[in-house]
Amino acid sequence: MNGAERRMLMKVALLTGAAAGAQMLWPRRASAAPGKPIDTKGMKVGVVLETLSHPLIKYWGDECARQGAGFGMLVSVQDGERNVQKQTSQVEAFISQRVNFIVLQATDAAGLSPAVKNAEQNGIPVITLNQDVAVRHTGFVGMGHYAMGVQVAQGIAEQLDGKGKIVVLEGVQGTGANIQRMAGFNDELKKHPGLVVIANQSAAFDRKKGHDVFQTILQGQPEINAVFGVNDEMALGAAQAAVEANRRKGIRFWGADGELDMFKGIQSGLVDGVSAIAANAVPDTVMNLGSWLMTAGVEGGKFSGRVELPPYNVTSTNINSVPWPAA
């Protein structure tokens, strides 16, 4: 290499060395004085969600921000784009910013674990929501994907009296939500030997794809009793296809999430059931938990607790008595 490049290399090396040295001297966060409640005003919260392209999740993000503001906190909401690397990068960014606590909806349980561990080790409590991670951390607010899958299977079993042919529309292959929900669904299905999955295709969590794929499946399967769209979008698309093909009657359409469109669909009779998370409950619980932790001066690595929000099935029977999502 020539002289100029050698010099550049040296500069890079020096810079790296200096930063490395500085990092080793980076002070850990000073512990709070014991016993005294802490004012949450001005605290910073980092929220990393799985994706903001989903109306329900976007709603959670907005709600977290709103409630946090109510506590006087500054909340930054990031879109994880269903990408493990992006989410990791965002969590790390929040660590760099020394936020007071982090809320994380992990797209991959194992993959985000190192990042969560880092946060906790740096004294920043992490509250995971909806998806647990594989390392010990401060808080988990669960309405797990797994549980949703179980619930849907139970709901279908009830509506079909334990016997029937089911079509499954899966989401993007390899994503945590998809894997978890399918696992719950399949595990529960084992308890109902009369229920059989006759077709399983991926529709990428997309309404149009759900519509097109199910439209095709309708041609191939003369007898279908139920459809499980692993998210609401796909269920809605599939139901639409059935309506267009005049086969709406006799098929039960189930989704999972609890979107507004899904609720409307249950009310109008377009779809038959959904395993929903109480839309407000999640951000409520998360932010209150966080605020409590902060007020009590809990730091990362000091505490571990779980809150399991029960998911519940929404069908035409209870559609009017359950709280609806705002968006």
């Binding site: 899966e170 097109d212 041609q219 191939g220």
Partner: protein, 327 residues
């Protein structure tokens, strides 16, 4: 693949060797084989309903493929169509939301796509930047624009809006989207074969220097091609939004590769000047049949991905070998 129009009379020297036959008619043969194979596997494949479904499912990619084929014929490539589709759809949805008539929404969306295409063409032709990279950059910029416009929210089409007629309506037995696809294809086909513009596109792609020295306005022609591609993509987006009833910010992500695949499978050479809108459209139908059949006989989605890649490679390899031999 098949060269430009053939006025009557014998065309070229050269024996009709199997390889030449394959290059010229292989697409149709493969299509037939595919249809036969799927028909054998499922009695529900060759029904009128399913065939109509195929047309409907293919129509959106098909419309885009028409524009993409035109660009490739003129010697370029357009990788930005995915986000142009999203842009068109989002603008149309937002227009409907603010009370515009379906016609205005359609025009606004399509016009936006045309504008993006013109920008592409201007940069490529004016600055001489490589087409792939330019449209790659526009892909990113366009997607960002969609997010900025929508503020990351989904935009719903109000229930009962007359706009739905576009995506869900029928004209006779045919869905409107299919009618549009067929009409557009017919129009493009006619333009390609019977107008000066169509001839010019082939000339520019076949030998740019010769076209320039024959007095053709190659700048304008390429600009027009890119504009048409953008408009087609946006039109597809508008139709999709009208079908599913909402515009999501990630609408169209990844579709660009599908349009290129359609053209390539149809035998359009990426170097330009070889192929036609006809084979581009047939290529998209080929892929549409492929996806439909796979879903019908319930092939696991992961293997569909692999199979698609193999199909693309085989097609290109075959055409390339045949063309090389024909020299």
């Amino acid at each position: 693949m098949s060269t430009v129009q053939r006025p009557g009379g014998r065309l070229q020297r050269g024996r009709l060797t199997p390889l030449v036959f394959l290059a010229r008619y292989g697409l149709y043969v493969a299509l037939l084989i595919q249809v036969a194979a799927f028909a054998a596997q499922s009695p529900n494949f060759l029904t009128a309903a399913n065939l109509l479904n195929i047309l409907q499912q293919t129509s959106t990619i098909g419309i885009m493929a028409i524009g993409q084929t035109l660009v490739i014929l003129a010697g370029g490539i357009d990788v930005s169509v995915g986000s142009t589709l999203g842009l068109g759809g989002m603008i149309a949805a937002m227009a409907i939301r603010s009370g515009a008539s379906p016609a205005i929404a359609l025009i606004a969306g399509t016009a936006a796509g045309f504008a993006v295409g013109v920008v592409n063409g201007a940069v490529i032709f004016g600055l001489g930047v490589d087409a792939f990279i330019t449209t790659l950059a526009t892909l990113n910029i366009g997607r960002g624009l969609v997010y900025v416009l929508s503020n990351q929210y989904n935009v719903n089409v109000p229930d009962g809006s007359p706009f739905f007629a576009l995506g869900r309506g029928h004209i006779g037995p045919l869905p409107v989207s299919v009618v549009i696809f067929l009409l557009l294809f017919a129009l493009a086909h006619v333009v390609e074969r019977h107008t000066a513009f169509g001839r010019s596109v082939h000339a520019v792609g076949g030998n740019r220097a010769a076209a320039l020295l024959s007095g053709l306005r190659i700048g304008r022609i390429r600009l027009a091609a890119y504009g048409i591609s953008g408009a087609c993509a946006a039109l597809s987006g508008v139709i999709i939004v009208s079908q599913v009833g909402l515009a999501v910010p990630y609408l169209g992500s990844g579709y660009e590769l599908d349009t290129i695949a359609a053209a390539v499978v149809g035998g359009v050479a990426l170097t330009g000047g070889v192929g036609s809108v006809l084979v581009g459209a047939v290529g998209s139908i080929f892929i549409g049949v492929f996806l439909n059949g796979m879903a019908l006989i319930d092939v696991p989605s992961i293997w569909q991905m692999v199979a698609q890649g193999v199909v693309i490679i085989s097609a290109v390899g075959l055409y390339g070998a045949a063309r090389a031999r024909m020299q």
